[in-house]
Symmetry: C2
Subunit: 409 residues, 2 copies
């Protein structure tokens, strides 16, 4: 007979042996002082600078967003108190859905408890409803999309990342059956962007539906923060756009937007939507305040892009091995799990700079990295301090710096 | 080629034909005046009384709980800004997990974005990790548990609801392989309770792990609100206890508690935990305030039970067909989908009383019902008004009342 306790203990020991065991840093961000935070380390509490947050624009400390959360909590309470169907359909969530539909130029939107759930239950429900549906899924899609594809039980084909020729080959081979292409706009770990227009051309030619994940783009790209599809003028060609309220919008939750019929079908059939408590009114109100602000204001987006560009320039100038990206995601390559963890630890302990190591299985082995996300609240001084700290760490750990940097020193 | 738009429109028309199409009531609960709320109806805004909330104790309007949310939002911001691993591990969520472990007398706890996700990714990860695991699942388990079982890909056996003989038969037939029994304490639609001690006896005899969903019991039962397992003195015999922060605790989120090794394994392997943004610090702090209050105070639980008992007595006295339950869940049986919807509509429109109809597939056809959840904030006057309204509706719709009531009238 199995000893369950021993079994789990041994499973964890294997993770540690493989250097895959994760330790979570216990932090408190300081509203009004982002990107500064407190780190509750085993040796006491220290002030640190966060360089790996997905609250990309710092909206989580916006006074307007916080005020919306606070006023709504005092007025309507702290929770929704039920599923959307059974007493949980609070007025702020209804308004939020209208706001999101407008953001993406769609007829309707649906809010979920997380972006993860919106992908998982959204994709699986959509594909399951369509008889004999074939899903075509980008090879680098996020885990939540992979789970959605898997749980649909439908046939699937994985196309090579952003590879239009491969996608077309698979579409052509699929013949007349219904097809759903699922992909992302900004891929979070490599920071590259999908050719959305060209994918829509293929979808039209081969009569496929399109499902686009914009979680790393909404709020940050497009004149109103509608994402890369808005920036590229292609929102209207996408059937379903998925986004998050937990990254650039600074709160929590996920959503889908699309035609009234498709949203209503997902609303009516998706178990991960039907059988779960609705988002609290205070969370919905905060998200709406954030979206409204970023629809009207380009200031955060411009400062964001400026600080991203400066971070890339300064780190490259210091000889650090940056992966070349066209977005706000700045991966500094290490290529080894243990060195990556050591670099992260040294940055935090010696320099008070917090950048979580990104190891397998989040990225392929041999591509371990520090994933840096500069925001509009990182000052030029923060960037210079980051570059100096990274060079110290790279030198101490005998990691390779580019020749250019050594000349500059 | 399929016309996707037409296809979805027709799928929705089928739902309407089958009377399964759901319309969400757009409501605003009024903090400080629960169970009163505003209903944004097509004809304007009206004041109503909510009788179907899962914020069972009204903690969602507690000033202490709200203050914890508000103060934390001003101090740490509105969102976590990342996954638990990547910068989202905020200090309040760390404290909340310690509080939850203590509540259930376990070594560790893990917080999820919802109870749905905790069941779905918790059960599937746990069962997937154990080689050749057989899952034994109660026939009335919640959809989130069913999805967890399904997604594990493991062999499963469904035992008849609360049927110890059937469970034993299946355990015996399974032989030496590892086994996981998944069940609930309070079943939400029938309001009955599992024989937890006896199930633990069987688990011990046949060497199975136990996984217990207490979402409709935490906060409400047991001297510290630890649930039915606490009330029955059986918490220590359960391997994994799952609960929610969104019902009696009045906020949002879900959790698991258990041994350090089992929690650490789920933390390390569960995709629905790893790849999703953490609960906002303000939400975690609010939940912690609620749990702490209910650990120390029996007042809400006592008033809850009193008003539940009074509601049952008054409705039964009025001749309404109550399902006999031993918990705070009071189903009034209708037995027909259309009549159930009509009763709910008339209650809301004519009497300002909001009770959502519960139809198939949430309950089996022929057992359609109004599911009433009295709370400590429903006054005796609310209860009397409810009884009068139900009798009016039952009479108007020609639904059967018990003879007793007719005598009493």
């Amino acid at each position: 007979m199995m000893n369950y306790q021993t079994f789990f203990t041994e499973a964890l020991e294997r993770l540690q042996t493989e250097r895959r065991y994760r330790v979570f840093a216990d932090i408190e961000r300081l509203a009004g002082r982002f990107p500064e935070a407190l780190w509750h380390s085993p040796d006491g509490t220290r002030k640190i600078t966060v360089w790996c947050s997905n609250d990309y624009l710092g909206m989580g400390q916006s006074r307007d967003v916080t005020r919306a959360m606070v006023e709504t909590a005092w007025r309507l309470g702290t929770g929704a108190g039920g599923t959307r169907n059974i007493s949980g359909n609070n007025h702020p969530i209804v308004e939020l859905e209208a706001e999101l539909a407008d953001l993406h130029g769609k007829e309707a939107a649906l809010v979920f408890t997380s972006g993860y759930v919106s992908n998982q239950t959204g994709i699986s429900t959509l594909a399951k409803l369509i008889p004999n549906c074939l899903i075509l899924s980008d090879a680098l899609n996020h885990n939540s999309m992979i789970e959605g594809v898997r749980q649909s039980g439908c046939d699937k084909q994985i196309f090579r990342h952003n590879d239009l020729a491969h996608l077309e080959e698979l579409l052509k081979a699929a013949g007349d059956r219904p097809k759903l292409i699922v992909f992302e706009s900004v891929y979070s770990m490599d920071g590259d962007i999908a050719p959305i227009h060209a994918i829509c051309d293929l979808a039209k030619r081969y009569h496929a539906m399109t499902y686009l994940d914009e979680v790393h783009a909404v709020g940050m790209y497009g004149p109103r923060g509608g994402g890369i599809a808005e920036r590229d003028g292609v929102m209207h060609r996408i059937d379903v756009i998925e986004g998050t309220l937990a990254k650039a919008f600074g709160v929590m939750g996920g959503y889908l937007t699309g035609s009234r019929a498709v949203m209503d079908a997902i609303r009516s059939f998706a178990p991960g939507f039907i059988f779960t408590t609705a988002l609290p009114p205070a969370v919905a109100a905060a998200a709406m305040a954030s979206i409204r602000h970023l629809k009207a204001s380009n200031d955060e987006r411009q400062r964001h892009q400026r600080q991203v560009a400066r971070t890339k320039a300064v780190l490259t100038g210091a000889g650090l091995p940056l992966m070349d990206t066209v977005t706000h995601i700045v991966p500094v390559m290490v290529g080894d799990a243990e060195a990556c963890k050591a670099a992260s630890d040294r940055l935090l302990e010696k320099h008070g700079i917090y950048i979580q190591p990104i190891n397998y299985p989040t990225v392929p082995r041999g591509t371990e990295r520090l994933r840096i996300t500069p925001g509009p609240l990182h000052t030029d001084a923060h960037i210079d301090a980051l570059a100096a700290a990274l060079v110290e760490v790279w030198t101490a750990l005998k990691l390779p710096l580019q020749p250019k940097a050594q000349a500059a020193e």
